[in-house]
Symmetry: C2
Subunit: 485 residues, 2 copies
């Protein structure tokens, strides 16, 4: 066993040990109220902890080297293995849950997708509900760290643009990546806590506030209520969700810079500006659409509030809903469908294509069109004032192709399994973009994924993992060439 493989297994061991500790939370929550659930989480915590600690003991002293192959393996492997480990207590704690459903729910949690196979959430054991939120919360910080520490090194889908070392060469005192990750982790924790307090202030119970704070900051979207955040609008919780979904869609490293005395970085960042511009435009168009086609009656939420909460929820891939926007008519449904494919900023908890890739692609296309008319003018694509390496531009364009190709393949598979076109196409989209709800009566904001055939759920499980790991991570793992020495 070489050095890199030992490192991979060591990291996996540490993550499993941590997951085992996390499983104690739902066990404690259900200790006096639901023996089945408490035992499920306690037992599974013991097994997970045993495996994790064994791996740590066997691999400790293993190298600290991580090759590119090792980095891909540790990323893809930990998401897959942790999803399985997270699924076991769900299967054991909930009476009528199949193994497929448990793995779907756990993967949907770990990938912060938020698609659910569970109904009557209000009647489920509290431990199960908090476990779903914890999974998303872990998945959220996991993706921020991966996006800062691993993908830039691999050059996945243009993420090399966000190399920490290169991003601020002027700052010699910059601590190294590990320390930055730890600092960002603290910011994640603080943001979650502030969100928790804000939810409390809008009359949520502490339990609901904690569960929703974790899934808001993770832009995950699991709720404790079938009505999603829409069940809590009386106290204004949807506005809290709106604010914190936006905050969680911005690059977390910029909050660190703000704390370090550079809050101006937030305002000049091209991703932040792009995100806010697209969000503003989407909300404006959607508000007008609602006013024209579905004017809210008195007593209902005003149009701007319906538009902004639901648009930001889908754009950031959170997946909360305060209305069944599937019923708002063609134009609105079209906008929501497009918003699924936008996402937030790189280095946030959001998924999907992300703003910077659209900005870079637009720049590349502009240059290309320019060259068509003036073949002898060659100018580099610029982003945030810097000329881009052609390799990064190529990565971004490849990302688009492979992202949408994966979506089409997933949609085709779901169609062949027998889903109707709207469910198949939107189901594939919501899986690859890790949004949560799809469109239509089955998997729309008012439905669940429970009625789908098992084969469809498996397609979605794989698609969620592919999407969450920026497509290339999983595809590289699935390439035979990767496994050849």
């Amino acid at each position: 066993m070489n050095d890199s493989t030992r490192t991979v297994l060591l990291v996996l061991g540490v993550l499993l040990a941590a997951l085992s500790v996390a499983k104690l939370v739902p066990a404690i929550v259900d200790l006096n109220s639901d023996a089945q659930s408490a035992h499920a989480f306690l037992g599974s915590a013991a097994v997970t902890g045993f495996v994790g600690v064994t791996l740590i003991l066997m691999m400790r002293g293993g190298g600290r080297n991580l090759t590119a192959r090792g980095a891909i393996l540790v990323t893809g492997g930990s998401w897959a293995v942790l999803s399985v480990a997270a699924a076991v207590p769900l299967k054991l704690a909930v009476g009528d849950m199949s193994w497929t459903d448990a793995l779907f729910e756990a993967t949907s949690g770990m990938t912060t997708t938020g698609a659910t196979v569970m109904t009557n959430l209000q009647d489920q054991p509290a431990g199960v509900l908090i476990w779903r939120s914890i999974l998303q919360w872990i998945g959220g910080i996991g993706i921020i760290v991966t996006a800062m520490a691993i993908w830039p090194m691999l050059g996945i889908g243009g993420m090399q643009l966000f190399r920490l070392e290169n991003s601020d060469k002027s700052d010699k005192a910059l601590p190294r990546a590990g320390q930055i990750a730890a600092a960002v982790g603290i910011i994640y924790l603080v943001l979650t806590f502030i969100c928790f307090l804000a939810y409390i202030a809008t009359d949520m119970t502490p339990f609901d506030a904690a569960a929703h704070a974790m899934t808001t900051v993770a832009t995950g979207g699991f709720s404790t209520h079938d009505g999603s955040i829409g069940a809590f609008t009386d106290g204004g919780s949807d506005i809290v969700a709106l604010v914190f979904m936006i905050l969680s869609a911005l690059p977390f490293v910029l909050y660190l810079r703000a704390v370090q005395g550079r809050p101006d970085r937030l305002w000049v960042d091209p991703q932040v500006r792009g995100f806010l511009a697209v969000a503003g435009a989407a909300i404006a168009v959607l508000t007008v659409w609602i006013l024209v086609h579905e004017p809210p009656a008195s007593g209902q939420l005003p149009a701007w509030r319906l538009a902004s909460v639901n648009a930001i929820s889908i754009m950031t891939g959170t997946g909360y809903a305060t209305a069944d926007f599937s019923l708002w008519g063609g134009g609105a449904v079209g906008i929501f469908f497009c918003l699924m494919f936008i996402g937030g900023c790189a280095g946030s908890t959001t998924c999907s294509v992300k703003i910077f890739r659209y900005q870079i692609a637009a720049g590349a296309i502009g240059r290309h069109i320019e060259r068509q008319a003036r073949p002898h003018v060659v100018r580099p694509v610029r982003y945030g004032g810097k000329a881009l390496d052609p390799d990064a531009v190529r990565s971004v364009m490849s990302f688009f192709f492979i992202f949408f190709a994966t979506w089409v393949v997933a949609a085709a598979l779901l169609s062949l399994i027998g889903l109707d076109p709207v469910t198949a196409i939107s189901g594939a989209a919501t899986s690859i973009a890790n949004v949560g709800p799809g469109l239509g009566p089955i998997i729309g904001p008012a439905g669940t994924f429970k009625p789908l055939p098992d084969a469809a759920k498996w397609v979605m499980i794989v698609t969620m993992l592919i999407g969450r790991l920026e497509v290339f991570t999983m595809l590289v793992l699935l390439t035979p060439g990767f496994w050849r020495r």
Copy 2:
């Protein structure tokens, strides 16, 4: 006025003069049967001819130079201007046709899309029916010549791969592009005539045979009957259509090579192989789907025949139908939707993305994935045994982005105009890919585009032109920078 502009106007004059001559055909056809139609075509032929000849006289002696800007202008300009010139007699000849409808029908013809706003085709003046076929036939040869003579020079969407000079450096005796274009024109004519004879052999009237031969070889899809080619299945005309749609989807320059004694070129061409492989796979999957989900009753066409004719029709963007495949269920609809985005070979009359771009993109993605696992291995993308210029690969990837972005924008606009999602999404797809029918009850194979609001028709008119001219031609024209000196 500079040299290049004079050349552009001279070419436009020649094309208008030719169109004027073409207008005499429907005038003669309707001379004894429909005075309104005959007068419409005669009068419009006179005006078109006058404008064309005037331009020729004013610009003759103008330069033979064509800059890149001029080439873009002449391509985009001629399709737009000829569509307008072709629309006028349609408006005047058909009683209840609006100007928008006439321009929609003419543009749909010139771009070989085949979407129609006309119903009761059997009761329309014969001259109008033959005019629609002539438009597609002109559009078909127009695109082959443009794809051979202009796009390779501009490097539009990777078409630089098909530079005639470079494609066969070993052959010093190769005549120059103009002569090749003329030779390919003769092949186009001969193929149309053989197709005409084959249709006659399947009991079509000479009129129907001529009309369908022109729209088959152009992969255009206009028919003389509301039932499309499905109205002629008794004699087996759908099988003739199948054969000639496939032949028309292959690169015409390879037929020239075959005539020159190199028929082997057809079998080794990567585009031809890719096209046949995809077509075969689609037909196989679709046949199985039909047998499982919609087994044909006795007296109906067999499954393989329904699958192959309709799949090849949509894949090549012809748009004939022998059944309302909208009703075949999710999997089949999904396959047809995907087939819209495939197309045929570059240098044929087909539209859409085209096979070679998928092949090159797959190669580029493969290389990219390879580099993710082995960052230090750098190998070029290869196509047809040759290493590709990175610039060509970039062109291809840009094409994908801009093609699908245009589709999404068109679908969003159609949604906002108020079309339902299926009509909006498939209407945008069928416009950008120049296929013809969409999906759903309104614009599906059994419907027409007539009921759509005018605004939707205008969006589609522009989208058809953008799609037919490989997206970049029109987008460059729409760029303000293009018009600055």
